[in-house]
């Protein structure tokens, strides 16, 4: 169910933007758009199916504790 809603949202966004970009022949925009959409899809899909993603806060915290006195 959640996955279905997610796919719907992504399809909607793609339908909203891609035809316009193709019509205007804005290829760099289309490529950036697709990359971002793919990243977004991977991140949210992993979260929806329940994969625990690493928390950036923790890594930064460790790094700073290592570097500072």
């Amino acid at each position: 169910m959640k996955v279905f809603v997610l796919l719907l949202v992504f399809a909607l966004i793609a339908l909203l933007e891609i035809p316009k970009l193709i019509r205007k022949k804005e290829w760099p925009e289309l490529i950036t758009f697709s990359i971002l959409l793919t990243i977004g899809f991977i991140l949210s899909f992993l979260q929806v199916i329940g994969v625990e993603l690493p928390n950036p806060n923790k890594g930064i915290e460790k790094l700073i504790k290592l570097l500072t006195p």
């Binding site: 966004i13 933007e17 925009e29 991140l43 949210s44 806060n57």
Partner: protein
């Protein structure tokens, strides 16, 4: 040209004001920065000169590259490393936006509506912010001009209603630990003010570039003045021990307002300005992120990027988790300020140095 709009120096100052002060009306980490006692309200004025020092690299860089944004002159100065540095900044801003949104939902789930899932707040705020970003910098500027006075009036009004509960005795003894710790007290708010990067990014959209100096001088004064009002009222109403124990000290003193039997429970004002201000703050950060990607990849328009970026923002906010204790440790003076200082002081200073050494950009008097 990605962005055709122009904003005035006043709008830019107010944009910074809303973005920063709105955070301080809930959490106020400066109370916990050393010396963490009743002197914070004096010591924090030290933040003004520190703000100016931190602004110096940005100011000179803007002088050298008057028509370019932070992303653009980064590329001009560092050449091949430029895009990577740009992407680093985009990731940094993305992380900050995630923190902002977590803060937003955390306040709601702690203080106002404990059972509503925080994802709901995150998604709704991102959606509304996306709408504002879609309309560009001019709309953001005007929004700040509209909302900043509301926030100012609300804060000052609330503080005036609390005058009866204030106890100036709480502020004594003056300068218990001497003047030296005030440097740390000053560093804490400056470290949080990542808005300085956002200003460096939108500086070329200033309608009168001669006013660059004005932005860098007056914005810190306005920020510190309101920080002073907030700290002063919290310390005098709660006392420093109690103010430190509360997660949201200003919210708690707003709850204390009672004028006779008829004017009570006006914390809804606090929640209202919190939503308004958070909307502007999120939209501003959202805007500089999509603008950054647009400028890094030399696109003609950033508008197609707004919706996919919104998804990334929501997803990365979710990644930050909602463990308040871990979150507060990360935002503490010892960690967060080092993290941001790297981006707001260290890298810009290096950039300026490189620009001077490689003789990039023109320096006009």
């Amino acid at each position: 040209m990605l962005e055709g709009g122009k904003i005035s120096a006043r709008q830019m100052i107010l944009l910074v004001f809303v973005s920063r002060v709105i955070y301080w009306i809930t959490s106020l980490p400066v109370l916990l920065a050393p010396p963490a006692n009743q002197d914070v309200w004096i010591d924090l004025w030290m933040a003004v000169p520190i703000y100016w020092i931190v602004a110096l690299p940005f100011y000179f860089l803007a002088k050298r590259f008057p028509q370019q944004s932070f992303y653009e002159y980064t590329q001009a100065i560092t050449g091949k490393a430029g895009p990577w540095l740009g992407i680093l900044y985009v990731l940094f801003l993305l992380h900050i936006t995630g923190l902002t949104l977590t803060n937003f939902s955390e306040f709601f789930t702690t203080a106002v509506m404990p059972e509503t899932p925080s994802l709901f707040f995150v998604i709704s705020l991102t959606l509304i912010a996306a709408y504002a970003v879609y309309h560009g910098i001019e709309v953001l500027g005007r929004l700040s001009e509209l909302i900043a006075p509301i926030i100012m009036i609300a804060i000052i009004g609330v503080v005036l209603l609390l005058v009866n509960d204030m106890n100036l005795q709480e502020l004594t003894p003056f300068l218990e630990k001497g003047i030296y710790p005030s440097i740390f007290t000053g560093l804490s708010p400056v470290g949080q003010t990542i808005e300085i990067i956002e200003v460096a990014i939108i500086l070329p959209f200033l309608n009168d570039l001669r006013k660059t100096k004005k932005v860098f001088i007056y914005a810190p004064l306005l920020l510190v003045f309101f920080l002073f009002i907030l700290t002063f009222s919290e310390l005098t109403v709660l006392g420093d021990d109690l103010a430190k124990t509360y997660t949201y000290p200003f919210y708690n003193i707003v709850r204390l307002i009672h004028v006779g039997d008829f004017l009570e429970r006006i914390e809804v004002i606090h929640v209202t300005i919190w939503i308004l201000g958070m909307f502007v703050k999120t939209a501003f950060q959202y805007y500089v992120i999509v603008l950054g990607i647009g400028q890094l990849f030399h696109l003609k328009s950033y508008k197609p990027l707004i919706l996919p970026m919104g998804i990334i923002i929501v997803a990365s906010t979710n990644m930050l988790g909602s463990n308040v204790v871990a979150f507060r440790e990360f935002l503490s003076f010892e960690i967060y300020d080092w993290y941001t200082m790297f981006f707001i002081l260290f890298i810009p200073s290096l950039l300026l140095l490189t620009a001077v050494l490689r003789k990039k950009g023109e320096y006009s008097k």
